[in-house]
Amino acid sequence: MKRRELFKAVAAAGVLAAPNLARAQGSKVLRFVPQANLSSMDAVAGTQYVVRNAALLVWDMLYGVNAQLEPQPQMCEGHEVDADFKTWTFRLRPGLKFHDGAPVLSRDCIASLKRWMVRDTMGQLIAGRMDALEAIDDRSFRFRLNKPFPKLLFALGKNNAPTALMMPERIASTDPFQLISEYVGSGPMKFNKSEWVPGATAVFEKFADYPVRPEPADWLAGGKRMLLDRIEWVIMDPATAGGALQNGEVDWWETPLPDLVPLLKSNANIAVDIADPLGNIGSLRMNHLQPPFNDVRARRALLMGLSQQDYMQAVVGENPGLWRPLPSFFTPGTPVYSEDGGDILKGPRNYEAAKKLLSEAGVLGAKVTLLVATDVPITKAEGEVTQDLLTKLGFDVDYVATDWGTVGARRAKKDPPSQGGWNIFHTWHAGSDCVNPAPYTALDCGGDKAWFGWPNSPKVEACIADWYAAPDLAAEKQAIAAINRASFEVVTYGPTGFFQMYQAWRKNISGVVKAPFPVFWGVQKS
């Protein structure tokens, strides 16, 4: 009997040690760990980065920005524009197809653009000066504007959500405030809805009929050539993801924790690199409608106490190469970057002066409702530092620990915190979205119409309008400096610093590029 048991144990061990066949045959299957759970696929009605990243695989765009953020033709063959930037005519490439086999026609693009214009800040600018958006034939259509809009191509090709993705007309006619529920795309990968397990996996499969452009791929521009048959997004927490990457169970991790990077680097099979040189800007977002931060003095006091070093070390760790102080609202290292007006964030922090200002404003010791998304490492770290800062400034902090989805819903409420509203939440903006005001939703100070927090400053709005009208780089620079100064005056939000994140992948993956979003085209697995 004992011998028989032993035999059984050996047999069982043999079963366990057998190589995973499914894994062996998957050289064209990429397993990717995204930054967060993919809960929807609508990058027009929603602005989450993770949704945008998935949508970019499934839907193509008329234009696409390259690494220099210059829009290049993608689905369009080209365009014609009159001298005063009012009449824009576009012509689609021949042979474009949706994933259901139907050809991409002008009316699909028009419907897609109309839905996008309702939700996007630049789209709204276009809509506000548009006389008509009309089809000429099945492959051509035309914008007729009554005021010039030179940045139209950038608006169509920008990478930040809401993104101008081209969908079939029937999907694009969904209410812009409702999520789409059919995912027939125009991009290089098809979304496999039946294998989608929200919170766990999302599967993309190669679309064989995608017409690849001949140019080399460059971010959203050029030929989106898929060298993979199947991309599996697996959602897992950072602790598990670290182990899975080391064990070769996943191929690519979008946002490895900075603390795990030394461990990953020590593994000969793993490559680690900065994900995006344009980095990110951390944001402490205040509600300008509700006390105490409806008073600009309270907002300024917060900036006087805000230590970017604390925030950045909490977010990215001690590696000084990964972050830098940012007395600005704009991405450092870009042509128009300005620190004008940012002195309040420089030098040693002065809590006493801040408290004095708070007591002048009559809000010393006021109650502050702080929303913290604890499921996202970056916002969790920012939230805990803010909790510490608010306590130091004598506020009575109501720390609401919740998840990113709930923060997303609750931040839209303008009610007082006691009725489900809020005072502070945290997020971050990709550096590529903060190079200038065009893609920079969070900079807008249009009051009720502005992004969550609803900052209101006609002065900032005027400066932004100046930038749009700027004829050359010097004028743009001047306008940006004025925006920065005005934004610090009104304290649109609290920049918590500039930081870079890593990405990590197994070395049998090649073709990974640096970008503010994962670029899957050109990526190969051996």
């Binding site: 995973n20 405030f177 529920s181 397990v197 929200p198 897992m236 899975a244 709930t406």
Partner: protein, 313 residues
């Protein structure tokens, strides 16, 4: 016996009714407005009211409860607030990993714990007995996620013999399926093994002290046959009962284990849903797990009549 079985089966109906009422009213009084969440960032109050009416959220409690129960009886658990997918579909997608994990844990736990408990009782008072008891108390006291990370660190990362995470459907082969489930099952089983080992030891001690066992011993019946045929059969009722009741603990533990090992099961679904306040999903999962638990214990009670025909109730 059939009358007993029928009565026992009928008795689950009021229990399930109470569960349904409890689960429904829990989430009925939930703060937060699903309509406002669905309406999204930029909706007007009128939009929210329209959505609320279209969801039927403005009707009285009893009407909504009745309708809810009616839908459940028709297999409709409602729609997730966040993904807009039917809850029954989301659960169906994730039920296989959870069931696999729980069944494997159950088998593994029984396979380890019952012999250990029998051995401890047989060697009562020796170091073997003490060792088993120490392991059992320790199994209770170490939180399940600590066990999970320890095992993952040792077997997956240091020794590199098993995967760290994930799940492979059983359809892809029994080997990969088992490989992915071994560590989670041991993790989840740690407390369960302790529980079963203790109860087995205790009831075996009691049975071994009874006259007929002593008689059998004195007649020189083979030790092994005494232990496993005579004694264990008589100790089976309490052991099976504890296994049935312990399934509640397994369900709770599965929620954590699935998170630790990134297994796409129902447990992780409910954790995600709770952080997002996705109430229809929470309702569905709690109801499902409660139903499973009630069924398991119904099965256990019916098993009694097999193990111990004297039981008639």
């Amino acid at each position: 016996m059939y009358a007993y079985a029928a009565r026992r089966i009928l008795s689950t109906i009021p229990v399930m009714a109470v569960v349904a009422l409890f689960v429904f009213s829990l989430l009925y009084i939930a703060p937060g407005d699903p309509a406002a969440i669905i309406a999204g960032d930029q909706a007007t109050p009128a939009d929210v009211d329209r959505i609320r009416a279209s969801l039927g959220l403005d009707r009285p409690f009893i009407v909504r409860f009745g309708e809810w129960v009616w839908h459940i009886l028709n297999g409709d658990l409602g729609q997730s607030i966040f993904t807009n997918l039917p809850v029954s579909h989301m659960i169906a997608q994730r039920i296989e990993p959870t069931l696999s994990l729980m069944v494997l844990t159950l088998i593994l736990s029984i396979a380890i714990a019952v012999p250990a408990g029998v051995l401890a009782a047989w060697k009562h008072g020796t170091w073997i007995d003490r060792l088993v008891m120490i392991m059992a108390v320790a199994g209770f006291s170490v939180p399940v996620f600590v066990v999970g990370y320890l095992l993952a660190y040792t077997f997956a990362l240091q020794l590199d013999v098993l995967p760290v995470q994930g799940y492979t459907p059983i359809a892809d082969g029994i080997g990969p399926w088992l490989r992915h489930l071994v560590l989670p099952a041991v993790t989840l089983g740690s407390a369960f093994i302790a529980l079963i080992a203790r109860i087995t030891r205790a009831t075996m001690l009691e049975v071994l002290n009874q006259d007929y066992v002593r008689t059998a011993k004195s007649k020189g019946v083979d030790q092994r046959s005494i232990l496993f045929v005579h004694a264990l059969k008589n100790a089976a009722v309490p052991i099976v009962t504890v296994i049935g009741l312990g399934v509640a603990g397994l369900i709770g533990g599965a929620v954590v284990t699935e998170s630790v090992f990134a297994i796409p099961g129902v447990g992780r679904l409910v954790v995600d849903a709770i952080l997002r306040r996705d109430y229809p999903v929470i309702q569905g999962v709690v109801l499902l797990f409660s139903f499973v638990y009630v069924l398991v214990n119904l099965g256990v009670d019916l098993l009694y009549t097999v193990f111990d025909p004297r039981i008639r109730y």
